[in-house]
């Protein structure tokens, strides 16, 4: 899973790595050489100050979930935390350390005190790696990688499990789930190993494949341009898994406001299909209206499915995304 970990970093990487490296040491990491190459990601994004700011955040969930290991999130189970939850009658075999002695003294009845259990959850990042994600300046895939890296670091820092799955072709390739902030470099490595798929991508099939690999309820973060005829069905099926679904709809500025004019033949980068269009101002106005309606349909669908839909442009700075846009939409807090 380490992928290209053994490759030497390019010369310009070494300087950019210093903050991340020190952050790794501070996090008690094993001193692995990072492979999430800052040559393709702004190195200042992940400096120590930015990481400290990210550590203050947490991926929010609407409801307690049943998790796996002991973690930092409230679970629906009763457990060993310090937060009181309820009473129940004593039963044989109960731990006498949980007996409420004060109640016993006043009422001469045996009650056991119940405490909130704190467990971890798994944050699944589903990154659309279709060929269309490679377009745009900066590319949509790179933007998705950076957003996933930042959100993944938040998850690792808050003792959640983080799993990365790339959706390309007709399958979802899942990386191993990571836990603990010391695994941040493996997270970055896994992200940097994602590249755009050759040929067309069946987002529906890939998402369905990735959904089948999910274990238990958690948080699914879908980072995609949703440029697929079945994108709405993808959203429906992911929302039906019981996990909380967060959709980061990534589009490039060139898609939001196409800089083209005249008589053109538009060629689909995935399918190679062409379409003849005479682009003028009226056409562009129609395109923008169509785009807006398309995004609004996703927003409506997400609202109906209790999912969170965040439309994004790749020219949004990562700090604005993390500390403004996602906080405003209560994805992190």
């Amino acid at each position: 899973m380490d992928g290209p970990a053994g490759l030497p970093p390019p010369p310009d990487v070494a300087a950019g790595l210093a903050p991340a490296d020190s952050a790794a040491r501070a996090a008690g990491g094993r001193g692995e050489r990072p492979v999430f190459l800052p040559s393709s990601i702004d190195p200042t994004v992940f400096d120590e100050g930015f990481l400290r700011q990210l550590e203050r955040l947490k991926v929010l969930m609407r409801a307690p979930v049943r998790g796996g290991l002991k973690g930092g999130r409230r679970s629906v189970k009763r457990g060993q935390s310090v937060e009181f939850a309820d009473f129940r009658d004593y039963a044989l075999g109960d731990d006498l350390r949980q007996l409420d002695w004060n109640v016993l003294a006043r009422l001469e009845k045996l009650f056991i005190k119940l405490y909130v259990e704190e467990e971890d959850v798994t944050i699944h990042f589903l990154i659309d790696a279709s060929a269309s994600m490679g377009s745009g300046t900066p590319s949509k895939l790179l933007f998705a990688q950076r957003a996933a890296a930042a959100l993944g670091y938040i998850g690792l820092a808050s003792e959640d499990r983080v799993a990365i799955t790339s959706l390309g072709g007709r399958a979802g390739r899942r990386q191993v789930a990571l836990r603990g902030s010391g695994r941040v470099f493996r997270l970055l490595s896994a992200l940097s190993g994602i590249g755009t798929a050759d040929g067309p991508t069946d987002l529906m099939a890939a998402a369905r494949h990735a959904g089948a690999q999910l274990s238990g309820r958690g948080v699914i973060v879908l980072l995609s341009d949703l440029l697929d005829p079945n994108a709405d069905r993808v959203i429906r099926e992911l929302a039906a898994t019981g996990s909380e679904l967060i959709i980061l709809h990534v589009l490039s500025p060139q898609e939001l406001d196409p800089p083209m004019e005249g008589d053109l033949r538009l060629v689909d980068v995935e399918t190679g299909d062409g379409i003849d269009v005479t682009v003028d101002l009226a056409t562009l106005d129609g395109y923008k209206a169509r785009l807006e309606a398309w995004r609004q349909a996703f927003a409506d669908l997400a609202a109906r499915r209790r999912a969170t839909y965040v439309p994004l442009s790749t020219d949004v700075p990562l700090s604005d995304l993390m500390f403004a846009e996602l906080r405003r939409r209560q994805v992190v807090g």
Partner: protein, 713 residues
């Protein structure tokens, strides 16, 4: 509608060419996009609106097809026919006299007349020819019988006002002669009919008049002269201003000496009257006097040409006085004080025909009178006997001086309050004279007047028999009296009439003469025959002062000697005039010894009250001179409207046209290229807008956004 060049409609073959170009498959540039998902939906929408979209896309094609049609039509030269309002041969007479410069119509009468004449030319039948005659001081054919309307337009536009008195009759006669070459001819006159000389001769052809002008408000300088003042020392300017309006006017008169304002005076001019003004004490150094009627303010009239006039101050000339007396030192001394004067003396016994009194500007007889008086000015002092100068009744002792007229020019600056006369001749004031110094009981002591065309004066007492010579008043009185009798320095240089030739004296040895016109242009004149003493200059069409400078051969020094055959008078006139009654014969004076090589100046002034009268006359009177068939056939087309200030065809019955002559004429053609060219421009503009609609829309949106931004701020 017909076409002059119908073959040009072959240009319509380009219509299928344009269509073919549109039918060719459009080659599109390829652009790789992440997905065509959204574009497919958009194209689906576009195809749903296919009819309208197709129409919109083919709009450029429609415009280009329309452009081809219009250009082919333009090349074919379509025209509309209508009845011609003018004869086949048209002689256009345009009045260019001074009154056509009047600005009662904007910008001036000539410009309006030219525009009206060119406008009427649209009624010329196809194949018609035009001759243009300019009616200035003399008639001039500008264009002779041409069908080239561009040449006619250029010739008419090139006409300018001549500051002359026009002679329309001459132009009409010339036009009639030109029209006689053709069977179907008429004369069209563009004039204000404000004619200095009304034409009277009958014409063979029909005459139509384009009348311009509507106002007669004008004041003009009609006379200007510079004369020596009575004192003989200073000079006065005499100006006569005529108000040709039918309302009183208030104008400011400005007098300039060599370009420097000397005096300004407000004149009140009653309607149809003249007002004279005399400006005294013009400085001696002034060579050119200019008089202007101030045109600033609302008082300005409609004609500027006659509001300025120039006069050249004649050069000082030596004047000769002959004193016939036994000897009077007081009088001789006083006479020697006169400037520019040579005094000669002769005894009465010697005086006779050999004395040549006709060569003197003034002959003074003291105590005597010859039987035959000279023809020139005379001053008789104490005549002993009666003569035509006055009857002698005897003598009077200690005559008292009567009441003096303070306005008397001869007594200007003369104080006689302490003067006593011992003995005087008792004279009777003759009818031709006015009393200057009245004496007791109607016997004048000094009188002067105009005796049968000759200035004459009589002083009734000998100066030595009074205490007058001992007083300051005496030399002043002698000076004033001499000036009065000699009539100033010289006759004023007469102004030249504009356009008239002037003979300029050519100094001996001079090879040529350079005349500088008022606008600074130089004209070189050479004598027609060697040894000629004068050259003729005829380019006096501008008002103002002309300067003629002689040119001498470079090898020859500028001659200062007098012309051959003349002798300079005695170097010191005073010395020669010293009491020399013993002289047997007076020296014979010669011609004026003015420097013959000095530049000669002369002024050209309008000075024509008739031409300055800009009241529009009656065009009917001019039309009545015309004859020929079909009189009254006016332009049947939209001619110039008869509004105020705009020219009106004064034909009495323009619709009575359609005579036999008119019916035989080819019809007038109106080519339609102007609306077609406008349509082409419109189509081009529309095509550009359609093609650039996105850029225009973006500009508009950016402007709206900026506007909204500024409002928000």
């Amino acid at each position: 509608m017909s076409f002059i060049s119908p073959l040009a409609l072959l240009g319509l073959v380009f219509v299928p060419a344009v269509v073919a170009m549109y039918l060719l498959k459009l080659r599109r540039d390829e652009a790789v996009v992440p997905s065509t998902l959204l574009w497919q939906r958009l194209v689906a929408d576009v195809e749903a609106n296919a009819p309208w979209q197709r129409l919109r896309r083919s709009f450029l094609l429609l415009l280009q097809l329309l452009l081809v049609l219009l250009l082919a039509a333009l090349a074919a030269r379509p025209f509309l026919e209508r009845p011609a309002g003018l004869a086949q041969d048209l002689v256009l007479v345009i009045d260019t006299s001074a009154s056509m410069a009047a600005t009662d119509v904007v910008p001036d009468r000539l410009t309006v007349a030219k525009a009206a004449a060119l406008d009427v030319l649209r009624d010329l039948p196809a194949g018609g020819v035009v001759s243009v005659v300019a009616a200035g001081r003399t008639a001039r054919v500008v264009v002779n019988s041409t069908g080239d309307m561009g040449r006619v337009r250029a010739a008419v536009q090139g006409l300018a006002v001549q500051a002359v008195s026009g002679d329309l009759g001459d132009a009409l006669n010339l036009a009639d002669a030109l029209a006689a070459r053709s069977g179907d001819a008429e004369i069209l006159v563009a004039t204000d009919a404000a004619l200095a000389v009304a034409p009277t001769s009958r014409l063979q052809h029909k005459v139509k008049v384009l009348a311009v002008g509507r106002d007669r408000r004008n004041q003009a300088i009609v006379a200007l002269a510079v004369r020596q003042a009575a004192s003989g020392v200073t000079r006065s300017v005499f100006v006569s201003v005529a108000n040709l309006d039918i309302q009183a006017a208030q104008r400011r008169l400005q007098v300039y000496g060599d370009g420097v304002l000397l005096e300004a005076r407000d004149l009140t001019l009653d309607a149809q009257t003249r007002a004279d003004a005399i400006i005294d004490d013009i400085p001696a150094a002034v060579q050119v006097v200019e008089v202007r009627l101030d045109r600033s303010g609302p008082a300005a009239d409609n004609l500027a040409l006659d509001d300025r006039a120039w006069a050249v101050v004649p050069p000082q000339r030596l004047r000769r006085i002959l004193l016939v007396a036994e000897g009077d030192p007081y009088l001789e001394t006083a006479l020697t004080y006169l400037p520019n004067t040579e005094l000669y003396g002769v005894k009465p016994a010697v005086y006779g025909p050999t004395t040549h009194p006709e060569l003197f500007d003034l002959v003074i007889f003291e105590g005597t009178l010859p039987a035959v008086l000279p023809a020139g000015p005379i001053l008789a002092i104490a005549p002993k006997a009666s003569s035509v100068l006055g009857d002698v009744l005897g003598t009077i002792k200690d005559p008292a001086i009567g009441s003096l007229d303070p306005e008397e020019p001869v007594l200007r600056y003369v104080d006689l309050s302490t003067t006593h006369v011992g003995t005087a001749i008792k004279m009777v004031l003759p009818a031709w004279a006015r009393a200057i110094i009245p004496g007791p009981s109607g016997a004048p002591l000094l009188y002067a007047g105009d005796l049968a065309g000759r200035r004459a004066g009589v002083l009734a007492f000998e100066p030595r028999l009074s205490d007058l010579p001992l007083q300051v008043a005496f030399p002043i009185l002698v000076s004033n009296l001499a000036g009065e009798l000699m009539g100033g320095s010289a006759a004023p240089t007469a102004a030249i009439e504009p356009g008239s030739p002037v003979a300029l004296p050519l100094p001996s040895n001079a090879t040529s003469l350079t005349v500088t016109k008022p606008d600074g242009a130089n004209v070189q004149l050479a004598p027609g025959t060697p040894g000629s003493s004068s050259v003729s200059f005829s380019q006096t069409d501008q008002l103002g002062v002309y300067t003629a400078t002689a040119t001498f051969p470079e090898a020859t020094p500028s001659p200062v000697a007098l012309p051959t055959g003349t002798t300079r008078p005695t170097a010191s006139p005073a010395a020669s005039a010293a009491p020399s009654p013993a002289a047997s014969s007076p020296p014979v004076p010669t011609a004026p010894p003015a420097d013959p090589n000095a530049p000669a100046r002369f002024a050209v002034d309008l000075f024509d009250a008739a031409e300055s009268n800009i009241a529009p006359g009656s065009p009917v009177a001019i039309e009545a001179l015309g004859g020929g068939p079909g009189a009254g056939a006016g332009p049947g087309s939209p001619g110039p409207s008869a509004g105020a200030g705009s020219p009106a065809v004064a034909s009495p019955s323009p619709t009575a046209a359609a005579g036999a002559a008119t019916a035989e004429r080819p019809k007038a053609r109106d080519e339609l290229w102007i609306p077609i060219v406008l349509l082409v421009l419109l189509v081009l503009m529309a095509e550009w807008l359609v093609y650039q609609r996105d850029a225009v829309l973006r500009l508009w949106r950016a402007f709206r956004a900026r506007l909204a931004g500024s409002r928000g701020a």
